[in-house]
Subunit: 105 residues, 2 copies
C-alpha cells in the first residue's frame, strides 16, 4: 500500500471508506489489491491511503463527483462491492466529502 497520497491543491474529493471485516479471507486480500490497482487507472483518481487495525480505513481521492460515480459503477468494482456486502464486511460506511483545505509536513 502506498504512503501518504500526494494530492493537488484543494478543492478535490475524498471517499472515506471505513469497515469491519468478517472472519476469514474468502478472497478478500486478492480483490482488495486488485481494486487499489484498478482504482488507480480510473479517470480523476488522485491517490489512495489505507490502514487496518480493529477497523479498516481507506481514503481515496478524486478530482470530482463524476469520477467517483464512474468508479462506483465500474463492472469489476460492482462485483467487489457485492461481495463486500455479502461476505467480507460485517459493517461499513462510505462517506463522500469535499476537501476544502489541507496542510502538513
Amino acid at each position: 500500500m502506498p504512503p501518504i497520497a500526494k494530492t493537488p491543491k484543494p478543492p478535490y474529493y475524498a471517499v472515506i471508506f471505513t469497515s469491519e471485516r468478517s472472519a476469514g479471507d474468502n478472497g478478500y486480500g486478492e480483490m482488495a489489491a486488485r481494486m487499489v490497482s484498478l482504482a488507480a487507472q480510473q479517470p480523476g483518481f488522485l491517490g489512495i491511503e489505507s490502514a487496518r487495525e480493529e477497523i479498516g480505513i481507506t481514503v481515496s481521492y478524486w478530482a470530482d463527483l463524476e469520477s467517483i460515480k464512474a468508479w462506483k459503477d465500474n463492472a469489476e468494482h460492482l462485483e467487489a462491492q457485492s461481495k463486500g456486502r455479502s461476505s467480507w464486511y460485517t459493517h461499513f460506511r462510505v462517506r463522500i466529502s469535499k476537501v476544502e483545505r489541507d496542510y502538513g509536513i
Copy 2:
C-alpha cells in the same frame, strides 16, 4: 479505539489526518490516547476512527468548521501538535473536508 463512528445525517465535517511515525514512542502513545479522549469532550465533536499500519489514518468528525478551529486552538492540543511536528511524525497531512453524502451497512 472505538469502531466505526455513528455520525448524524450529512452535511458535517471530516478531518482526515494521515501520518508517518518516526521511530520510538517518545510519549506518543499516552498523548494520542489523551487527545482522543479530549477531542471527544469538545463542542461539535461527532466521532473518531483510527487505524495504523505503514501509515496512520485518523478521521475525526465535526458539526462545523468553528468546532474544528476551536479544537485546533485548544491549548493541550497545541502542545501535542508541536510535539507531532518536532518529534513524532516524519510526514503528515491534514485534510479538512465536508461530508456531503454517506451510506453503509
